[in-house]
Symmetry: D2
Subunit: 202 residues, 4 copies
């Protein structure tokens, strides 16, 4: 009976494109739905992959990835306790099936996780370089790393590390602005630019 | 036996994020993968919806939508014969299951199609206003129209029509630039800005 | 003696590029220095032109235009009293020579002004259409109108009016983001997109 | 007599905002007029400064800077012979008064020039680091360097050098798209994003 209900829920659920304000989150910090959509596309997920979501924040990327991977295993890594609460709220709300919250600090907490096919880094809490070292060791050949950088410092460091490690690196600069359907005038509000770095292990 | 092969193919296939150059298309005209990802997210597809893809071009939106809707019915409407060939090539290549090519000109050819839950307009061949009239008649309450406008004229006309018809309208301005992983220097190539208009029938 | 002092001040003064925070203004509403620079370039000012600055706000465009036109006559039109105070503060601060504050509402207050060679519309207070009608009547052939639109509504209406009136219209979409030199990390803050419409009377 | 003609020419000449296609140049490589306007504003020129324009290309920045500095001394440094021809054509066409073409490679050719108040680097021909070293030695305290970077590599290297040398560094990301007044439909053509780095010697 529960199973049938779940199947029904899944069929009538949006597969991709959860609006920003549907998530429990700090409103100004959430990855915007447009950036999240590009990020998910860049991750090139298959049905049964292992995804590490490092610096998961509100968990929005993990939750949408879960919708795309019927047999995936997703690890939402977050050490900020307030954010962990947001993630748990959101996992419940969106009935996520295959997302595990990892409460701890990367890279230390990555040790016990299965090797990833895909890694998304949305935040690194000051340990970017050592996280990239572990990611590089654990990621299989053919695997892919996606990093959303909002500072030039993160962009430059990530790019330098991954190019030196022999990855093919592509950067997409994303400038998005959006009008609100609730105001009379269509005035654009700009979101902060994001650089989405994609690196393939060859 | 065929069925098992298909299931295997599906499991190992990328769910979202086909690179631009994997499609048969006129290279300069294809909807870029980043814009396509946002468009698909804005369509808020569920598992079993009916999607009209008007001005389907190379069929890239239909094909990625097919991956997202296990029980969807997608109609790729295109009257340009060269583009129809591209669509058929791409449907074969990506083993699309539920996409029907509609060879004809909108809005005339829309008459025989089932009512849509979602409508994407990527091109209108000069008949924008009459297409929007038919879309408005046929779309169910709660349905959604997404229009990718590359001219201010299309943006202004679509916006005017849908607001007058009582839809809640949101516009996202998308400015994307991308470096190439094959060059030594990471120089950004900008894609033409796209305005993604989303309208909900209330 | 005064004259010498002035000449000295002029020589050591920045000709173009006053930083945003040097102006008395409502911080979030000032035309950003990058947008102002483009606006001034689009105005194609000569040494002795008449410029109407309609909806002058803090007066920043008038003040920088004054630096560019040794024999210009600039009319900063603003009906908001708080903004008029800002303009007067700024005119004093930057020793503007040829800027007249016009306290009143356009288009009514335009009647007594000399015919313009250039018109900049930064705000229209809901009277856009009637302002454009007067501008069109008074602007000489070869004259130029520049409009900074932050809403699609203003952009579409201005574009429609001026194209119907036979002007050659060009629109520049400007997406700017800037890091702060005072923070440790170089994180970009995006400014709201502006559409700069340029129209030449033929 | 000549003097009067010049004075007349100056008065009726556009002070700022030369359109791109008025310059002799390789069309795809010219600094776009919007980017040029921001660059000039960021240079914060005064009437009598010394400006080094390193990698002058078509000379467009030097020529517009000359219009802004009645007593300036501008050195347009360019080692590509084809570009040198473009510069000379453009200097003649726009009756530049104070621009000297320096035919040679930076940093070697900088030795004989007077110390700069402002330095603009539009291209570095692979010698970025050694150019920055000379610029840093020669620039007075209170001086300013502006660099237009079109690659992340240039942006990261310039930023690293100048921050380590104690400069206050600001980066502006500029995404511009423009419609053409000669087409029926207003479709935006995007220009490649430029990062304008500004550094103040303290």
């Amino acid at each position: 009976l529960v199973k049938q209900y779940e199947a029904f829920a899944e069929a009538s659920r949006t597969v991709l494109g959860i609006p920003d304000d549907a998530f429990s989150a700090i409103k100004k910090q959430i990855t915007r739905e447009e950036v999240r959509a590009i990020t998910l596309a860049k991750l090139r997920l298959c049905h049964d992959m292992v995804l590490w979501d490092i610096g998961a924040g509100s968990g929005s990327v993990s939750i949408e990835a879960d919708h795309l991977m019927p047999n995936g295993r997703i690890f939402a890594i977050e050490h900020n306790e307030q954010y962990q609460d947001f993630i748990r709220d959101n996992l419940r709300k969106f009935q996520s099936r295959h997302v595990t919250v990892v409460e701890g600090e990367a890279p230390a907490c990555l040790e016990l996780l299965p090797d990833p096919d895909r890694v998304f880094i949305g935040g690194s809490g000051g340990s970017l370089w050592s996280i990239l070292e572990v990611v590089d060791q654990r990621l299989a050949v053919g695997g892919r790393v996606v990093v959303n950088a909002i500072t030039l410092d993160t962009l430059a460091a990530t790019s330098e590390f991954l190019e030196n490690a022999g990855y093919a690196v592509e950067v997409t600069s994303v400038n998005i602005a959006r009008t609100s359907p609730t105001t009379d005038y269509k005035m654009f509000e700009a979101f902060h630019p994001v650089f989405i770095l994609v690196a393939d292990k060859q």
